[in-house]
């Protein structure tokens, strides 16, 4: 069992890191499409969203199929989602607007889809920091409360994606649909919570 988990984690590290390193290598050497900046922004954005959805699917899937091992990698998947999202944000700042800080802050304030992305990003940041085991322990019950914010984050990311496209709304719509499905699986949890409060 222990070895299985270690191998599984190793697999996730490779599966998340290799494509990222490969994409940056290609982009840095001008081989990732004609506009490597656009390509890398999209690659990391979609990657972050995929990993976030994957992380959210872990709990229901492990319950349904009694695969408790999956739960052991949930944190890792979440952290890689954050890593991709951080790359996505840095791509935007460093390569797209190239450290034009006034433009950066203006865009965050003026463009609703960027604002929404930023709120999602900050939420993911809070979750990533508090995933440190010692912090988690110290937070006690409030940890779960804070980490329920992941449901808000995934919704915001879905909206951010939908809002970012010009007219090709089918792909973001599919993503939003999957997001709603994953949220629906938590319906009972939400209902209980509302009753309790």
């Amino acid at each position: 069992m222990k070895y299985k988990v270690i191998f599984f984690k190793l697999f996730i590290h490779l599966a998340a890191l290799l494509p990222l390193v490969n994409a940056y290598y290609l982009a840095l050497t001008d081989q990732l499409g004609a506009d490597p900046v656009e390509s890398i922004i999209h690659f990391t954005g979609i990657g972050a969203f995929n990993l976030l959805l994957l992380g959210l699917a872990i709990t229901p899937v492990s319950k349904r199929f009694k695969l408790s091992m999956l739960l052991k990698v949930r944190r890792l998947v979440g952290l890689y989602s954050f890593t991709y999202a951080l790359c996505h944000l840095l791509n935007f700042l460093v390569f797209e607007i190239q450290f034009d800080w006034s433009l950066f802050f203006n865009e965050i304030i003026d463009r609703p889809y960027i604002t929404v992305g930023m709120v999602g990003m900050l939420t993911l940041l809070a979750l990533a920091i508090t995933s440190i085991p010692s912090l988690k322990k110290r937070m006690g019950k409030s940890w779960q409360k804070l980490h329920n914010w992941v449901y808000l984050a995934v919704l915001l990311v879905g909206i951010h994606f939908y809002w970012s496209v010009k007219s090709e709304i089918i792909e973001p719509s599919i993503y939003l649909f999957i997001t709603f499905m994953l949220l629906a699986l938590r319906f009972k949890k939400f209902k209980k919570k509302i009753k309790k409060d």
Binding site: P19, N22, A27, Q31, L32, A34, H42, N50, Q98, E107
Partner: protein, 339 residues
């Protein structure tokens, strides 16, 4: 801009370097293909633009759209801007008829058949006429024009087009006094254009793609009918066999693969304007002071070569830097309202 002399071959050097860089890149990408294909999460991360890149350059590309060398007089303007490499001009296209991602058109258009082609010029004019495929490159003397192309998405290129002034084509039709606008239409052929057959591939746009200009805009000497780039006929993905190039307007005005040009009395519809009137105006003049609702238009990224660290963000100029030639036409127009 004045096209004066007819010196050939200013471009030759660019073309040569370009070609060798292109081949080198091909080799590299082939090698990278191993890593690319072997990456484990590639199915879980579907976007993988790199995988698409690898596809495109892989040696199993079945057919390529044929291009032919053209005879033309070279651009003699003193434009010192660095050209966007041909490989990028021809692989980074917004041509939703062949797919919405920038790398889709080059992949999906190689089998595009332009024979036979007919471009009909009609409407409010005394001499309507039709051009066949051969006429497109033979009816008017061809010249090269090096223009900046500014996309509404805030990136830009510098492209050596080959073509002739739209005005020449229009004057031949002898427009009458009711001709206030010129309407353009792209080919509608869902069998050849997968984006027209499927809303998913075509980005939910209503086809055929249509565009329009005021007659004075259309008659402006800068407005070009392009039949080629980098010295050869147009690749399919760039709008073969004939397209419009209006360099002081956002790229979406420069309609591709045109089959009909019509003089009209009232303002023609234009595809993006109908789709999202608050985001894309009829005029669509490049204007750093009027932002797209979702992003700034004050600056742009100039696509040349170099990877992620190419410091290529530059200020956007009013009318894309062609104000001297075109600003007069808009003297009495509030450009904030008529964006």
């Amino acid at each position: 801009m004045l096209i004066k002399s007819s010196k050939q071959s200013d471009l030759k050097e660019h073309q040569v370097t370009d070609e060798s860089v292109y081949l080198q890149r091909r080799e590299l990408i082939k090698k990278m293909g191993f890593v690319g294909a072997g990456t484990l999460l590639s199915s879980a991360i579907p976007s993988v633009a790199n995988a698409k890149g690898i596809d495109f350059f892989s040696s199993k590309a079945e057919k390529t759209f044929q291009r032919y060398a053209l005879n033309f007089t070279a651009d003699s303007s003193k434009n010192s801007e660095i050209l966007t490499p041909e490989a990028k001009v021809t692989s980074h296209n917004n041509f939703y008829e062949f797919g919405t991602s920038k790398s889709d058109p080059v992949k999906n258009s190689q089998g595009f058949n332009v024979k036979p082609w007919q471009l009909k010029i009609s409407g409010e004019c005394d001499n309507p006429y039709t051009l066949d495929l051969d006429d497109l490159t033979k009816s008017f003397a061809l010249e090269e024009r090096i223009y900046r192309l500014r996309c509404v998405e805030a990136w830009s290129m510098v492209i050596p087009w080959v073509g002739f002034e739209l005005a020449k084509l229009l004057q031949k039709a002898q427009p009458n006094s009711r001709a206030k606008y010129v309407a353009f239409e792209t080919l509608h052929d869902p069998e050849q254009m997968p984006g027209q057959a499927s809303r998913r591939i075509g980005g939910g746009i209503d086809y055929p793609y249509v565009e329009g200009l005021r007659i004075d805009e259309a008659m402006n000497p800068l407005a070009l009918m392009s039949v080629g780039l980098y010295g050869k006929t147009l690749p399919a993905q760039n709008g073969a066999p004939i397209r419009l190039v209006v360099p002081w307007k956002y790229g979406f005005k420069s309609i591709k693969s045109i089959v009909a040009i019509k003089f009209t009395q009232s303002r023609p519809t234009s595809t993006w304007n109908v789709l999202a009137p608050s985001e894309y105006g009829f005029y669509a003049n490049v204007n750093p002071e009027v932002d797209h609702p979702r992003w700034s238009q004050a600056s742009e990224r100039r696509i040349t070569s170099g990877g992620l660290f190419a410091r290529n963000r530059i200020d956007t100029l009013p009318f894309n830097g062609y104000g001297e030639e075109v600003a007069d036409m808009y003297r009495n127009l509030d450009l904030r309202k008529n964006f």
